[in-house]
Symmetry: C2
Subunit: 318 residues, 2 copies
């Protein structure tokens, strides 16, 4: 077989798996430099749909969440190489969901009740409530290769193989580098997100089915210790068009500082925009970005939560 | 005295102090809504200048660093109120410095030797080495009020009173909110930075003398638990004009993940641009932004270090 770089392969949404495991049989074998289109189910693996209600949340099987489509065996990829992934296209469905899943998320101890928001994705935007509208900047939460170690590893935590990296800046046009850890790399992808804040604080983004087109290339000349990437262009170009309101948390522990920054943002959103506490938490997850502003002025660090004011299209700020 | 909002006061660079202490006598008393221009010495308090060399670093007295100009007593400001600080203007000097100070910084254990870079600040830019040029986006590292507690507290760590917040997004036009903790607020400011990455990872930014003009207003109608702010507009508009190269660190500890992200960026800069390890570390401090990409996929979080490629004006990337 001597495929050209123009060869286009396809993976269907049914060709998926629920663990990172280097013994899973590839669903596709390609040469380095080839292009693949992948239809990816959203993070619930089909348990939720555009008509789902909060009752469906109660039945959600978390163990069936975050499936990935693949794996793809890339010829000549060997441990020590780098797999280059070019995100050529990302096509969202016309709906998505965001949820508070009990026991999951940065403030899981404070949000015991489930919540569900079904979104309509239209013309590049999604309305949260009247007067709050998010521009969509789609990417995939799960991007990974098979681990070096034998065995089945959950797709929930990210690792040296990438996986559930939930990194919002990997939009169309980004070039991603992952270390090859097993022969053939065994690349898989999924968990489409239409929009997300850095941190994904409630645990979910705007989760949506996604059609992904990407090119996989083995780089023998490059070594990366873990995930690296070059973004498509300036960061969040559709959101970073107006001031941001920022809340902060400070202290000797970055995790607690992040929790305080988000708590303070939730309180700000409740007070300023009249959102319920659950809605404020979900809005942080899909729109607010966590930054480490300083990490050197011992013993106290500062984490900021940044909410783009550009999403508030029809509500006054006090 | 019935000053108008147009009254302009002045504080000289000599009117400074080296501790947050609510017993320090104010150098100025103003009414709420008044404007003040402050000449601030840079972070070394005059120990370094445009002609300093690495030998001057050996003599640097760290205990004399990070002085703040003030304090300003704002009439009617009482504990429980909020002090609103509008950054009306920030005027840099024509020089700045960045240093690796032994024992200080995110990777202090790996950088035992001091280093010093003296910058020329001109036409809104500063050259690091030929082919690397940073746009200047000036702000102040130290912005604070006196603490509630009696006693003298170091100006190095930030706290509930603000202080050494080293937050790069507080540029001209930002509106900052701090809780009033002592009668009169006792506001002080200093530590001019011409440019800095989120994190300030080596411990110093482009440190520069700064002339600051700001308006202080007591907000009885507002309560903030700690620092909050609204930025002047879109974030880093002069830097976010091209792709970013990002390195990451993942794991169950955000601090170690941040350290790994920066280590990986240093290695990338050495390999790609031929920078020395010390120069790569300093460039991260003045230009790379730390973001928490995900903080929910237990047990592993991801921190990214983002280097704007827009600063590389004349060097090829491999």
């Amino acid at each position: 077989m001597t495929p050209t770089a123009r060869t286009i392969h396809h993976i269907a949404r049914e060709q998926r798996h629920l663990a990172w495991d280097n013994s899973i049989e590839p669903v596709l074998r390609i040469a380095s430099g080839e292009t693949v289109t992948i239809d990816a189910v959203e993070a619930s693996g089909g348990q939720l749909g555009p008509d789902s209600t909060i009752d469906d949340m109660a039945r959600l099987d978390f163990a069936a969440c975050d499936p990935v489509q693949g794996p793809i065996y890339v010829q000549d990829a060997q441990p020590g190489d780098t797999l280059q992934i070019e995100m050529l296209d990302l096509e969202m469905a016309d709906w998505g969901w965001t949820a508070i899943i009990p026991g999951f998320g940065l403030l899981a101890d404070e949000f015991a009740e489930p919540a569900l928001k079904i979104w309509k994705l239209q013309d590049g935007f999604a309305e949260f409530v009247p007067g709050i509208r998010l521009p969509l900047e789609p990417f995939c939460g799960e991007i990974g290769v098979a681990p070096a170690e034998t065995g089945a590893f959950s797709t929930i935590p990210p690792g040296p193989n990438g996986g559930n990296i939930d990194t919002k800046h990997l939009t169309k046009g980004a070039t991603i580098y992952l270390p090859v850890l097993a022969p053939g790399a065994l690349f898989s992808i999924g968990d489409g997100h239409a929009a997300q804040g850095d941190g994904e604080v409630c645990g979910t983004a705007i989760e949506t089915p996604m059609r992904i087109t990407l090119r996989l290339t083995v780089r023998k000349d490059l070594h990366v210790p873990e995930l690296q990437y070059c973004t498509a262009g300036p960061l969040t170009p559709r959101t970073n068009i107006a001031p941001y309101y920022a809340t902060t948390g400070h202290g000797p522990d970055l995790m607690e500082a992040a929790r305080n920054a988000v708590r303070n943002m939730i309180e700000y959103l409740e007070r300023t925009y009249g959102l319920s506490r659950a809605n404020a938490y979900m809005l942080c997850s899909v729109a607010a970005d966590l930054k480490i502003n300083e990490i050197v002025d011992a013993p106290n660090w500062i984490v900021g939560a940044y909410m783009p004011t550009s999403i508030f299209t029809g509500m006054g700020r006090s």
